[in-house]
Each structure stands twice: as structure tokens, then as C-alpha cells.
């Protein structure tokens, strides 16, 4: 299969090599022959969807930008890439950086943008240096700057170095970070196309999304729309890690069977073992069981159908010996560490989930803990400013639902003596708690409930709970 981004051409990161392989031809074509609206129309027709996680149609996103020039407009290229299990944008910076730059320039032209900021995570020291050199080469060859190639169109491009915060990959947090603030996500609406960076119309796109654009212009929307799955066309840069023989980044058409990816491209599971769980799109995405994985196709719609998502296409493979509880604990620790702290459900909820998972790992878990975890997750989900809350809740909710036995096996005996069904915190959504068979449990619950009622009569408690 022909590759769109990770072409097998040595030294493609050098601008001369890129140019002699047809590089910047799309940019020249756009500047000399296409109107901005025509570019947007072409990208719309191609069916390209964002590769940053949410799969939003790219052409549609661009069309949201206001047409006039009353205010300066900006493009932010999202190279924060901090989702555990994702390492594909790094591959573009290394193997085909100019194609990304060219795509960003075409995007900027189509929206009448005057400045492009490439936000790269601070840990990518090596790739930031590469990008700075590439941008400067593109300036030298006249592809960026004033009156580009005599077209009358001018645009600037700058590389901005992050400093270690996963949340800055979230688009509104990225904009605050770029402005020189703490990376707090913003409440939406207003959306970035209306009020973005420095209060001006802004579009945010992932690096891989933009790297697809030059070839769409060169070969046409129709060519692109016929690659892979019609509803999510093109190729994806699958980053496979964990227990496989040949981990790495593989560019393949959307809709490829997960098992083909793992067995044919990644050489199967290490040491001839079987696998137990696969996370299909970076650590935020609900995991797949073995049964689901066997028939899964890797595109947005197929994964959505089983309640998961393609995310960043970071595939994490876990063999039969993996301690799933430990994996979930580690994932939760990550979100707890990365929560920006603005919303109570996310900030506190991640802490609670981590505490509960810690005690299950320590062997002091309670029978009620699994439902407690699910209910905390459900109370975070949808109740926060940004999607980090959901990203923390989904793995907890779905890993426990799909691998409950693994968790139960770690809670053999409940040493706390607390009632199995903890009515007091009132968080449970499940119906099971209505059927308590054990009488002593029932008595314990009632006693505790009585205590709570007593407390709520207290004036101080009333004051704080009203």
C-alpha cells in the first residue's frame, strides 16, 4: 500500500530531498491556482477527519473560521502528543517534517491566517530542534514569510516549546499556554473559531491531520476519499506498543483489522503468548477484550460501535499475564497527576479513584469498591470543563466492566468490616443495592443511615449542606 506520510524515501527531512520528490508542489499550486474557498471545499470532499483524537471533519472545521480580516486569525498546530501510548507525530517531525509544514501553510492560506504556531511538547527536545531547522529552511526557500512566491499572501510560522503538561494538548488549554498562562482549559462556547488565542479566531489541528493535506491537493479529494473506510478515509499512523514483537509506527489504511496489524505487521505477541486486553487509541480510550479485538476493524466508526474510540491510534497490547488492576491503577495515577485542578469532579474524583485502586492493589480493597469506582467515574464523566475528565473516567468504568473478575480476584476478603453496600455516600446508580440478602449487612447500613440522619439535624451540617 502506498503511503501518504511516512514514505520510504531516505533523508526526506532535508528540504532539497523533499523538493526533488515533489515537495511544496501543492503549496505552489494552491498559491497560483486555487482560491481559499476551493481549498476548503477540496479538503471537505476528501473526508479527512482530525487525527488528534476527536475525528472532527477537518474541512468543516476550517469553514467555521470567519471570512473577513477585521481581526488577525491564527492556526495552532498541536504537537503536544502526550497521550500515553501515542508517538506518531514525533515520527512525522523526524521522517517528513516538511510535508507537515506544507500542509499547515495550505491550511493557513485557506483560512486567511497570518501566523501559525507549532506547539510541541517540551520533552521532544530533539524534534523541536529538527522543526526549528526545517521552518527556517522553508523561510530561506521562500515558502514562508512576506509575499510568498510573488502571490501577495504572507504568513509567519513559529515553533513554541511546551514544558511538560499533558493537558496542554487540549485545544483551549494549548491556547492559554501559548498566551503565556497556566494551561487551564477554557469553558466552551465560545469556540476557538470565534474567540481563540489572544481573543482572535483560531483553528487548532493535529500534526498528522495537516500532514495529509498536501497529498489531498496533489492527488485530489477523490483519490483520498477512496483509501480505507469511506466514513473515515485515508491512512492512520498506528503506534503499537506493549507486548508485541515489533512495536513501532505503521502507516496503514483505516479499517485495517486489528489482528492484521498485530500479527502481520507487529510480528504477533511476544514470547508466543496470548493477549488479554488491547487499548486501541491511547490510554484514555475504553479497552477491548480479546473477543472484541479478534474481529475489530481500526477506524472511528467500527470502534465507536463497541463503545470505544480510535483516539490517537496508539495501540497498547497486553499479554495474558498482565495485571489489569495494576494497569488501571497506573493509568489513573497519570490522570490524577495531569488534572489541571479547575473542576472539582476531575480534581477530586481522580484522587478518589486512585486511592481506591491503590487499596485494591495493596490487598485492602473492599467488595463495594468496584461499584464505588464506577460511580465516581460516572460522576466525573460529562461534568467537567474539558474532556480530561472523561478521559480519566472511561478507562476506569470500562476496564472494571469488562475485566471485573480480575478486580474481584484482588479483593478476596474484605478486612474493613464495612457493609458491602455502602448506601451512605449515595453515589450508587446501580439497582443491585436494593436487594440486600445478608441481614447483618442490612443492620449495618441502617445504623449508618441513622447516624447520617442524626448529623443532618445538626445546624452546622445543615449550613454547609444546603
Amino acid at each position: 500500500m502506498e503511503k501518504i506520510i511516512l514514505k520510504d524515501i531516505p533523508d526526506l527531512d532535508k528540504i532539497s530531498v523533499y523538493e526533488s520528490n515533489g515537495g511544496y508542489a501543492a503549496w505552489k499550486k494552491v498559491l497560483s491556482q486555487m482560491k481559499p474557498e476551493e481549498v476548503i471545499e477540496e479538503v471537505k470532499k476528501s473526508g479527512l477527519r482530525g487525527r488528534g483524537g476527536a475525528c472532527f471533519p477537518t474541512g468543516l472545521k476550517w469553514s467555521f473560521m470567519p471570512k473577513g480580516n477585521e481581526k488577525p486569525k491564527y492556526l495552532c498546530c498541536n504537537g503536544d502528543e502526550s497521550e500515553p501510548g501515542s508517538f506518531k507525530d514525533r515520527e512525522i517531525f523526524e521522517k517528513n517534517p516538511h510535508q507537515f509544514i506544507e500542509g499547515a501553510l495550505i491550511a493557513a492560506y485557506s483560512m486567511g491566517i497570518k501566523a501559525v504556531y507549532v506547539y510541541i511538547r517540551g520533552e521532544y527536545w530533539k524534534w523541536i530542534n529538527i522543526m526549528e531547522e526545517c521552518v527556517s529552511d522553508a523561510y530561506k526557500n521562500g515558502y514562508i514569510g512576506k509575499n510568498i512566491l510573488g502571490s501577495g499572501y504572507s504568513v509567519e510560522m513559529y515553533v513554541h516549546k511546551g514544558a511538560g503538561a499533558y493537558i496542554c494538548g487540549e485545544e483551549s488549554s494549548l491556547m492559554n499556554s501559548l498566551e503565556g498562562k497556566r494551561g487551564y482549559p477554557r469553558v466552551k462556547p465560545p469556540f476557538p473559531a470565534a474567540v481563540g488565542v489572544w481573543g482572535n479566531p483560531t483553528t487548532i489541528n493535529n500534526i498528522e491531520t495537516l500532514a495529509n493535506v498536501p497529498e489531498i491537493i496533489n492527488k485530489g479529494a477523490e483519490w483520498f476519499s477512496k483509501i480505507g473506510e469511506p466514513k473515515h478515509p485515508g491512512t492512520l499512523l498506528f503506534g503499537v506498543s506493549g507486548h508485541v514483537n515489533k512495536p513501532g509506527v505503521y502507516e496503514l489504511p483505516t479499517g485495517i483489522p486489528l489482528m492484521t496489524l498485530i500479527n502481520d505487521y507487529c510480528g504477533g505477541v511476544k514470547n508466543g503468548k496470548d493477549f488479554k486486553m488491547i487499548i486501541p487509541g491511547g490510554s484514555s480510550m475504553p479497552p477491548l477484550t480479546k473477543e472484541e479485538s479478534l474481529t475489530m476493524k481500526m477506524d472511528a466508526e467500527s470502534l465507536k460501535a463497541v463503545g470505544s474510540a480510535i483516539g490517537t491510534a496508539g495501540v497498547m497490547v497486553m499479554n495474558e499475564d498482565t495485571d489489569i488492576v495494576h494497569v488501571l491503577q497506573r493509568i489513573t495515577k497519570f490522570y490524577y497527576h495531569e488534572s489541571c485542578g479547575q473542576c472539582t469532579p476531575c480534581r477530586e474524583g481522580c484522587g478518589w479513584m486512585l486511592k481506591v485502586l491503590n487499596r485494591i492493589m495493596d490487598g485492602t480493597g473492599r467488595h463495594s469498591d468496584l461499584d464505588l469506582l464506577i460511580s465516581v467515574a460516572e460522576n466525573i464523566e460529562g461534568n467537567t470543563i474539558c474532556a480530561l475528565g472523561d478521559a480519566a473516567a472511561w478507562p476506569v468504568k470500562w476496564t472494571i466492566r469488562k475485566f471485573r473478575k480480575e478486580f474481584e480476584a484482588k479483593i478476596k476478603e474484605d478486612k474493613t468490616g464495612l457493609p458491602a453496600v455502602n448506601k451512605v455516600h449515595g453515589l450508587r446508580k446501580s439497582e443491585e443495592y436494593m436487594t440486600i440478602s445478608d441481614h447483618t449487612e442490612q443492620v449495618k447500613v441502617e445504623k449508618l443511615m441513622g447516624k447520617v440522619q442524626e448529623l443532618t439535624q445538626n445546624e452546622d451540617v445543615k449550613r454547609f449542606s444546603s
Binding site: A163, G180, W198, G242, P247
Partner: protein, 166 residues
């Protein structure tokens, strides 16, 4: 190493870089991150006086700079070892032995997470995914070079090389 404050100054050349960073953005507040990076490159970590200095250069309240510096984990608000080893233990690395590497180095150097060896040469930190999952387990040194596909033997060799080059 004690937590000494220091008073930073940029020379003329560095001031040119400061001006360049300011020119990149429509509002100079945005230069705060690049300037904090410059400070850390020069002094190894960012002291309270350094935050004030950056604030003065950009005409920002000092507490704003403090707020930014403390938000981002790669800005060191305390001194670190000459070689600060950032060891990834996130899922993909964990599956491939990230914790073994972390524990091995920790034991070998006799320090725990975020501690410095008494001679000031090494410090270690458990970090989140560094985008190197296919070449796990891995570590980064001083926010820069990646060392990938580590084994405990290679980690030993790395420590020795670093100690010798000191």
C-alpha cells in the same frame, strides 16, 4: 545540594534572544515560557529571584510568573542533580519493565523519587509517557536526550559513563 536562591542576569546576547522571543507573539506575556526555558538552560533550575527577573523583563506581576513556572512539570523549581534522570513508568514502559529500571537505578544510586545523590551528580524522577512507547523502557536526561530500549545492564553502563564523564 541546598536550596540556594540565585540572582540571574542575561548578557547582551541573551537579551537579543529575549527580544526575539517577544517579537514572536502579539502580546509579550507569551514570551514567559521561552524565557523560563532560557533561565533553566543557563542555571539548571528556576529560583524565585529568576521568576521575578522574568516578570520584570516582561512587565508581568511576579505571581503570574510563579503561577506559570509551577504549572509545568519540566520547569525545575528546586535544584536537580547534574544528571537528572527522568524514568518513564507509564503503561507501555511499565509493560516492558519500566519499574524494574526505575527501582534498579533508585537502589543503585541510593536515592528515591525526586532526590539527589549527596555528591550532586544524579537525581531521579518518575515521569509520565514521553512518547517513546515503542522503544520502551526508556529514560530522558536533563529534559534532553532519550535513552531507549533499556535493560538494567545498559542502565548500569549509562550511569557509569555519566559518572566518568563528570
Amino acid at each position: 545540594m541546598e536550596n540556594k536562591n540565585y540572582t540571574p542576569v542575561f548578557d547582551d546576547n541573551e537579551m537579543k534572544t529575549v527580544e526575539y522571543h517577544k517579537s514572536k507573539y502579539p502580546a509579550q506575556m507569551a514570551a514567559v515560557m521561552p524565557l523560563l526555558w532560557m533561565i533553566q538552560e543557563k542555571y539548571g533550575w528556576i529560583s524565585t529571584d529568576a521568576m521575578k527577573y522574568v516578570g520584570d523583563l516582561l512587565k508581568l506581576p511576579h505571581d503570574h510568573v510563579l503561577g506559570v513556572a509551577t504549572f509545568y512539570s519540566m520547569y525545575f523549581k528546586k535544584p536537580v542533580g547534574k544528571y537528572h534522570l527522568q524514568i518513564c513508568t507509564n503503561v507501555s514502559c511499565m509493560l516492558c519493565g519500566g519499574y524494574d529500571i526505575f527501582n534498579h537505578i533508585s537502589r543503585k544510586l541510593g536515592i528515591k523519587n525526586k532526590e539527589i545523590t549527596p555528591d550532586g551528580i544524579f537525581s531521579i524522577e518518575e515521569v509520565e509517557c514521553l512518547g517513546s512507547c515503542a522503544t520502551a523502557p526508556m529514560l530522558q536526561i536533563n529534559n534532553k536526550e532519550f535513552h531507549e530500549k533499556l535493560t538494567t545492564e545498559e542502565a548500569d553502563k549509562l550511569l557509569e559513563n555519566l559518572r566518568n564523564s563528570n
